[in-house]
């Protein structure tokens, strides 16, 4: 039986979809991936769809499900490498994958996940430091 491999890389799980997904295969992936997130305690899931030519509403729903389920298990999901034609089609279809993070490629996806985990670990909220205030705080 066909099966999509799930690789573990440090704190993350990496799935590269390279075959044409039909429904059963996609649903198996959803189940297996969630089981793996739970078993390994992964903090992030990267789904590489750069080789996928078609994402229809069913596939979109599976990706959304994986993101929501992973979140319940405290893991973030990033979809990487979506083809331009696929993105345009999804928008036209009205499917914008809310709640799913996206990145251009696996490398950027990793960076994004790292960033999210770090901000998760450090509880101190140091707001936005792009506009540092100079000196005059309390004395006013």
């Amino acid at each position: 039986m066909e099966r999509i491999p799930i690789l573990k890389m440090g704190h993350f799980l990496l799935v590269t979809i390279q075959v044409d997904l039909y429904d059963r295969l996609a649903m198996d992936l959803e189940a297996n991936l969630i089981r793996e997130v739970n078993r390994t305690g992964a903090k992030g899931v990267l789904i590489d769809i750069s080789a996928v030519e078609i994402v229809d509403s069913f596939m979109g729903r599976i990706i959304g499900n994986i993101a929501s389920m992973s979140k319940l298990l405290d893991a973030q999901t990033v979809v990487v490498g979506m083809q331009p034609a696929v993105a345009i089609t999804l928008v036209e279809l009205g499917l914008e994958l809310p709640g799913v993070h996206t990145a251009l490629n696996v490398e950027r996806g990793m960076e994004l996940l790292q960033g999210m985990i770090i901000s998760d670990d450090i509880i101190i909220d140091d707001d936005d430091d792009t506009f540092p205030e100079k000196g005059f705080d309390k004395d006013q």
Binding site: V79, M82, A87, L90, V91, T102, L104, G109
Partner: protein
């Protein structure tokens, strides 16, 4: 063979001379555009092909392949006249003046046979009317081709994707955004994002004359598609009157980063990428 076909065959030169005479006496004759010799050649070719067609094909079958040559010659005449600067009206009158000549000769030849004359006149009318429609169609088709080609050119040249910084793309959009244009813009933008690995794209709409709800929808689509690819999209160049229309129309752009100028969009992009532009200190 019907009466008209026979008359056109036997009296071709009379018809031709009468037609030429009518044309040359007409006030609308454009000697500035075509000399009389060329006009003669053109007209003779058309009449010859008509005589041949009538010889083999019934006069009422002007849509059948038997009249293909006539229609081709007509299309050629219409096309070349359009290029020479004839107005469609002038070309139309040229074809209709043939009807006049044909009917005059018919009247002489069929004198006394009122019924037959009436029948044949109707047929000639229909035939020449169909010819004039052909010339108009060719004329319009020629114009349409020009328009289509220009549309393609405009779509291609008017959507450049500029790499303003490593990782930042800018698209100045000039002119109205319709759905086919949006498609081209989106495709160019997304492909360039993949090709350059850029994480931020700035759509500058300073050159877009008006933003209605349809245009806004197209912009929102472009932003959504960019996000699905894993990049961020900023819209800049929002003029005060455009901000007014957006709010008055009740369009929700709150999920989209919008900036007044390309400069402030660029500043925002630098911030997001944790870049800083600083004045150089001259002395260490």
């Amino acid at each position: 063979m019907n009466a008209t076909a026979r008359i056109v065959k036997d009296k071709k030169s009379e018809i031709f001379e009468l037609w030429m005479k009518n044309q040359l006496n007409d006030d609308g004759l454009r000697e500035d555009l075509m000399n009389n010799e060329d006009l003669r050649i053109q007209s003779e070719e058309l009449l010859d092909s008509l005589a041949i067609a009538l010889n083999t094909t019934d006069i009422t079958d002007y849509d059948s392949p038997g009249f293909d040559t006539v229609n081709e010659i007509l299309a050629g005449i219409s096309g070349s006249r359009a290029m020479h600067g004839y107005s469609p009206r002038e070309t139309g009158l040229y074809v209709l003046s043939l009807k006049r000549a044909l009917l005059d000769i018919l009247q002489i030849e069929l004198a006394g046979q009122t019924d037959l004359l009436y029948q044949e006149t109707l047929k000639v009318n229909n035939l020449v009317d169909s010819f004039s429609i052909t010339t108009f169609e060719t004329f319009i088709k020629g114009r349409e081709e020009v328009i289509l080609r220009q549309t393609d050119e405009i779509a291609e040249i008017s959507t450049p994707v500029i790499r303003v910084w490593d990782g930042i793309l800018a698209l100045p959009i000039i002119g109205t955004l319709d759905s086919s244009r949006t498609q081209v813009v989106m495709e160019n933008l997304l492909q360039e994002i993949v090709a350059t690995g850029s994480s931020i794209a700035i759509l500058d709409i300073s050159g877009v004359p008006a933003v209605d709800s349809l245009v806004a929808q197209h912009l929102i689509k472009a932003v959504s598609a960019t996000r699905l690819m894993g990049a961020e999209c900023i819209i800049s160049g929002i003029r005060p009157e455009i901000a007014q229309t957006i709010v008055h129309l009740g369009i929700d752009l709150s999920n989209i980063v919008t900036k007044a100028t390309l400069a402030s969009a660029l500043k925002f992009a630098f911030n997001t990428m944790r870049l800083e532009v600083r004045r150089k200190t001259v002395n260490a």
